[in-house]
Point group: C2
Chain length 172, copies 2
DNA sequence: TGTTCCATGTAAACTGTTACATGATTAT
DNA sequence: ATAATCATGTAACAGTTTACATGGAACA
């Protein structure tokens, strides 16, 4: 996941590892964050795999490693981006791909969000069924966490609806 | 985290590792799940630490390890439960503690949920500020993920409000 | 007789954080 | 002077999943 976020950042231009960390703090940190302890090794791995390239720069006496995305790196990123959005019950992982969806054709973006919605709806229906068939095993707090799930997934559904509307309406 | 969930399950009575996995699938799996590969080693660790005790049982030709919570295990669980609910931006970790909040005095439960709300509000305000001071660096999809965060945290706030109302109203 | 469920366990791999180490520049 | 920020990196640890291995019971 981290590797693709770093590739995505580099799609906007040359950047150092330090800058990527700052970039994440300002944008993706609500749903995905990483420490230097994972960023730097990941950059080395990406460089070894020729998905990014590095040039050393001295700027204001400070040494920097400026990274750029290569052609195969861009291809790998786009391949990842256009694949179905996977749904996680315990993390808003879907936001990672959607964050970069301006790189995707509108049609494909809308299509993938719709397909994602189907997965969410499946889980939502299971939870609703669970709420109905609750035979008194769960206490009030347990039921409240179940309600949390139902309302959270419902929120995701409407958020996706709005997003698709905006895409179709040419707002995005 | 997993160790406390297992302790929490055992507060309701004797159970095998396999049963705990099933229990999780039916209750906490929306916000926390674990595989056998982490459940069994964790149970061994808890047994070694004398927080749980085991007795071997043969039932219908099948061998089972039935675990019970010890006094020090119950104490450790209650200590963990009454501590402030920690807030994670990337996972609904708060639900884990709240799931077991019927073990806490009503006053304490409400107090901890309120304190949790203050943390959520802090992050919410930061996001709102971020949305205001958005200088055009972000495109429509990036802004949509920001909005997701704002609306998600707002939802958590109202969910907590409802929960506190129910506690005060004697519904829980 | 094969498949599914019950039941436990381990090893390898993956992903990530924390804490440390280095060293320069800039602001107080 | 000294603290903060810029900038990179590594080692130890923690938590977890996946894949495998074992074996009995129930069912079709």
């Amino acid at each position: 996941m981290l590797e693709f976020i770093l590739l995505g950042f580099l799609k906007c231009g040359e950047m150092s590892g330090y800058q990527m960390k700052q970039c994440m703090a300002e944008s993706t940190s609500n749903f995905f964050d990483a420490s230097f302890g994972s960023i730097y090794p990941t950059l080395k791995k990406l460089e070894k795999g020729k998905l990014i390239s590095m040039r050393g720069v001295v700027e204001g006496g400070k040494f920097k490693k400026m990274y750029s995305i290569t052609e195969s790196g861009a291809a790998a990123f786009m391949q990842w981006l256009q694949e179905p959005i996977d749904f996680s019950k315990i993390r808003p992982d879907h936001l990672v791909k959607i964050f970069f969806f301006s790189f995707l054709p509108k049609e494909k973006a809308a299509e993938n969000i719709r397909y994602f919605q189907r997965k969410v709806e499946e889980v939502l229906n299971k939870l609703r069924h669970q709420e109905k068939n609750e035979g008194g095993n769960a206490d009030g707090f347990m039921l409240a966490t179940l309600r949390f799930g139902i309302e959270y997934y419902s929120f995701i559904m409407t958020w996706c609806d709005d997003l698709i509307k905006k895409i179709k309406g040419g707002e995005l």
